[in-house]
Symmetry: C2
Subunit: 502 residues, 2 copies
């Protein structure tokens, strides 16, 4: 069928065309199905996903998204030939994986490239994710998937011989060790270009927390300047286009909040390889309400990380930490940053669990990079204020060339939890038995995190503090910028009981 | 976040809302993700899928599809509260199935009901289909799925004690036995309210073929009138809303052209139960290029049909027929109807393979319904012209009250293959070894079937004819209403060689 182009020029995120319902009926095509399109003038072709919207286009027209206009180089009113599309090659590969067959290196390259170029629908990617989860991926497939994910994105090419990195598989509320660990390691002389994610299921990601004090979205060249100045950075990975297929696959995993192990391995390792890591510490917290429940499960996963790291020649240490409850007192971007600053400044009421875990991780990285007496070095750097100094340097470098110490202090002064709050106290003498990570994260979402940086909760007893409560002792304070949200969160708290007392 | 409603009122096929890119960014939501929406006036709520289209709505607005307007009863400029949605209950059930657990009767009821009400995205359904395929479905799950699929649609309630039905699992080009079988059985006095599908992967479905002579889209009450007048009908199932979840699931299976056995069983059996079948013949053709390749595979599938039928108290016979190549000479709606008429009229050049298969199936149904000497009865009805008379009756009843024999003959006179054609002949003395069903169907699609009813191919040697060719003998004629398509089909023919010669 020949249709006339109508450049609607919206940014759809992938090639999308809009048809009139009458045209769609004639073509026997439905919403979300695919159409092959050819510009008869220049013979350029593309596949696009169909949307039906009769108010926008007439029966002889086809509305084009910016992605389609770019690919076909269309003007308005050009003749385009369209035909419902047979299965694309990438879809055939997904079908192959669904059927239990293995995919080769070339096939995975093609598939990942099609994902990056937005040529697959979310439903097609959902089939791939389901097949990865249910049929598994062989070691070779995982390696080839990682290579394909790295190849289809940017790579940070730093000149340092040693590039240290850390990764925590996440799931623990609070647990904002990264700013502290990076500050210690960078102060010890290591190059540590740390890139982090924003929150997916948690109340805050490291990038959300750092953003309370500085920019986090950098181009590669901007990032390299920060690193050359300070040895390190605390940036958001998203703007660097490292392994960009990962974000698209994660979006599809999120449809059902699925944990897909081969994809988890590929997601983490592809980003580390793209960032040029030579030495890597992986933290796998385990425990009742964390991503991995048992220590044996954590160790099984850790072995896979080690095997992949070995293949890619990355010196990797895996540590298994307590993930049974939140780490630190504050949960939410601002509240977590306040904890981080408190540890870095060696305040005497700083959360000791966060401090101890950060020291533990930092010393492991130092040791991995052949720095002797690593435990002592880490503690000395933190307690002498060297780490805090390094952190200020990094934040200032991330803000602009003109930043000075006053600017830093002014930014810190502005860090305040949200204005509406409610504190829950013990109704009788009791003891904290359990704090559920997932439920705490959910409450924070209700309160407005991570969009509202000042929202979140403050746990008055972190895991290193006395768990015995006397009647009237504070347990948790909820913060929100909205009274309604605070109200909703209180209801949630009462219903789901995230903190178990005895 | 509070947004103002803008009733865009397009029919999206499911609840869809349109956001401005700025708003989407604030909500941290992407295209195809879900938004919970509450009309603050009447407290009605719905979940909808997000589309981003800044030209249509401003940052404080939300554009609503007709489905959302209906559910929320919105006027323009009303205040709607929106929030990115947590996993819906149905999505949680899909996740449960993906995780390898079984779903209960209540869970399947809820899931199917959500599918029927368009409350699941195609990606979510894709996860369900993948889980059905890769984790399988227990017998109980299959039964409960079928019950849920029946319950969420209409049911034809006919008064006859015996309601005969047939089903072929398909995949064979041509093979248009249904109009002949139904005519024979109805002429023998059986009630046979046959509903059929349109083409999915084949060149034509029975509904497409019947449509060359009569209407096929009826309401239940219209259909019942046709059946009470003629004992039978040859209708399209789609307009009757029998097991409507099926169509939605099939759309998702088609994304990868997947065959998912539990869904195939549920799809067929739910429609038969909804149509009130008491006696059922299932035809499972097997062979190299058909859906089931081996006889043992066909028998395994047949056993499952029998087990389910027994549960639902339907007397079922399964037959396993030769599916190694097309049946009849014509492939495509008009060309197949010409074959059917030729058999019904007892023309001496009628395709004998189509005739014999139709007689075989009709006699099996008659026998199943306790009609004695069924083989002889079937042949007598066909060869005496009784079946043809019955077919005319059914077609006339499906057209209108005023139809008479002249109208029927006029309609038949108009049946002509497409005007552009090309016949391929044998280049030397040779023998037909193999005709590939899938490739023949693909060529027909290239030629324009099923949309162009007169398009398709004519095989000059059907399976019951001499397979030896002399140089210059006709092998196949290709028909199309478009010279370009004919050209494309010829290229396809040369490249894919659907008819193997020796």
């Amino acid at each position: 069928m020949i249709l006339k182009s109508r450049n609607l020029n919206w940014l759809a995120g992938r090639p999308v065309v809009i048809l009139n319902a009458e045209t769609a009926k004639k073509l026997n095509i439905n919403v979300d199905e695919r159409l092959g399109i050819k510009n008869l003038r220049n013979k350029k072709t593309i596949y696009a996903v169909v949307d039906i919207f009769s108010r926008l286009v007439q029966a002889n027209q086809i509305g084009l998204s910016r992605e389609v206009i770019g690919a076909l180089n269309t003007k308005d009113n050009e003749k385009l030939e369209v035909h419902p599309s047979e299965l694309g090659i990438a879809a055939k590969l997904i079908k192959k994986k669904v059927s239990g067959e293995h995919l080769t290196k070339n096939e995975l390259n093609l598939l990942v490239s099609e994902i990056v170029h937005n040529n697959l629908t979310e439903s097609e990617i959902a089939y791939f994710v389901a097949a990865e989860k249910l049929n598994g991926m062989s070691f070779d497939e995982t390696i080839n998937l990682i290579k394909a994910m790295v190849k289809t994105g940017n790579q940070l090419k730093l000149t340092s011989k040693i590039v240290a990195d850390k990764h925590c598989i996440g799931g623990i509320a609070g647990n904002r060790t990264t700013p502290i660990v990076v500050s210690i390691c960078a102060a010890a002389g290591l190059t540590m270009p740390k890139t982090s994610s924003r929150a997916i299921t948690s109340a805050a990601g490291t990038a959300d927390v750092i953003e309370t004090l500085s920019r986090v979205d950098f181009s590669s060249s901007e990032l390299k300047k920060v690193v050359s100045k300070t040895n390190a950075c605390l940036a958001w990975g998203g703007s660097l286009n490292l392994a960009p297929s990962d974000d698209k696959i994660i979006r599809v995993e999120r449809i059902l909040n699925l944990d897909v192990e081969p994809q988890l391995l590929a997601s983490i390792m592809s980003k580390k390889i793209a960032a040029g890591a030579t030495h890597l510490l992986i933290d796998i917290p385990y425990g009742k309400s964390s991503k991995v429940e048992s220590k044996s499960g954590a160790k099984k996963l850790g072995k896979k990380f080690k095997k992949i790291s070995k293949y890619f020649n990355i010196k990797t240490k895996v540590v298994y930490t307590d993930g049974s409850r939140p780490v630190g007192n504050g949960i939410g971007p601002v509240l977590e940053m306040l904890d981080v600053l408190s540890v870095l400044k060696n305040n005497k009421n700083a959360p000791q669990d966060l401090k101890n875990k950060s020291l533990f991780l930092a010393s492991k990285i130092l040791k991995l990079c052949n720095i002797k007496r690593s435990k002592k070095v880490a503690r000395t750097i933190l307690e002498s204020g060297e780490a805090y100094k390094k952190f200020r340097e990094i934040i200032n470098a991330q803000n602009s060339k003109q930043e000075n110490s006053d600017d830093f202090d002014n930014r810190v002064k502005k860090l305040k939890p949200s204005r509406f709050s409610k504190t829950i106290t013990a109704k009788k003498d009791s003891k904290i038995l359990e704090i559920d990570n997932k439920k705490i994260n959910s409450i924070c979402h209700v309160l407005g995190t991570p969009e509202t940086k000042s929202a979140g909760v403050y746990l008055h007893r972190n895991s290193s503090q006395n768990q015995d409560l006397r009647k009237g002792d504070k347990i948790i304070t909820l913060y929100s910028e909205s009274k309604d949200k605070l109200e909703d969160a209180l209801k949630f708290y009462e219903e789901f009981n995230p903190i178990k007392l005895k």
